[in-house]
């Protein structure tokens, strides 16, 4: 008995907590968002989460690449100042 209660106090993470966190993730992943009312397995959510993070990393790399090419072709500082101003005022 004692060991059992000890074990349940060690398990400070409940299944409900995990289920909640997993469904929170599901909402963030475009691939899975539309299947909200169908049960998506936890394993699938994790798999798609990994895929999604990897695709976001790739997008950052591609955009960094694109920006490095674009920076090489722009010149005056005044253009950049205008860009900053328009971006920050949106």
């Amino acid at each position: 008995r004692r060991s059992r209660s000890k074990q349940s106090s060690v398990s400070s993470i409940t299944d409900d907590q995990i289920t909640d966190l997993v469904s929170k993730l599901q909402h963030l992943i475009p691939e899975l968002r539309r299947r909200r009312f169908n049960k998506v397995s936890t394993s699938k959510v994790l798999q798609e989460t990994c895929n999604y993070i990897r695709s976001l990393h790739r997008e950052v790399e591609d955009l960094s690449d694109r920006l490095s090419q674009l920076l090489a072709s722009t010149d005056s500082d005044s253009d950049q100042a205008a860009i900053i101003r328009s971006l920050l005022m949106q």
Binding site: Q7, I13, L21, L67, L70
Partner: protein
């Protein structure tokens, strides 16, 4: 989501301001005429680091993943300074990963103790602990998080990554309009 009005204290505007400042600095470092492939690659590296760094700084140390990113970037620049001969010795800090294995084993054992009612859930969650390994490699600092924190950090990390991509896209589009 109202994209017309940018809240000056929002994560998005903090990131945008930081990243733009970094871009201007990077652009000022080399004359525009030199656009050799090597220069472009170096610029690419700097831009990518600036983007990740800007986001981590905008989140500050409020999140485990941002702390891990900042620590990684700082130790990398320390190593670079050391290898350039400015320092004679490299001070490295090693993260302890022993706590990880004990925690995850405890959690796995605790999960297995559940009743048969939750068997379906249980099987799902035991597989979860194993599958989380892949996720741990993708989220900065993931190796030393317990399962709950890992899932929570992942959600925040994804939100920040999507913001980062959104802003970078906007900047690239603006630059390419010129």
């Amino acid at each position: 989501m109202d994209s017309q009005h940018l809240n000056p204290s929002s994560l998005k505007s903090r990131f945008t301001a930081r990243f733009l400042r970094a871009l201007i600095k990077i652009n000022a470092q080399k004359p525009i005429s030199s656009s050799s492939p090597r220069d472009i690659f170096q610029r690419y590296q700097r831009i990518k680091v600036a983007a990740d760094k800007s986001m981590a700084y905008s989140v500050r140390s409020r999140r485990t993943w941002s702390r891990a990113t900042l620590w990684k970037l700082r130790s990398r620049s320390r190593r670079r300074l050391a290898s350039s001969g400015r320092r004679s010795s490299i001070k490295t800090r090693t993260t302890t990963t022993t706590t990880t294995t004990t925690t995850s084993t405890n959690h796995r054992a605790a999960i297995v103790e559940k009743t048969s009612h939750e068997k379906e859930n249980k099987e799902d969650h035991v597989g979860l602990a194993v599958q989380a390994e892949e996720l741990r490699e993708l989220v900065p600092g993931g190796e030393s998080m317990d399962l709950c924190n890992l899932l929570d950090e992942t959600a925040h990390y994804i939100k920040c990554l999507t913001t980062q991509v959104q802003v970078m896209k906007k900047i690239a589009n603006l630059y390419s309009l010129e």
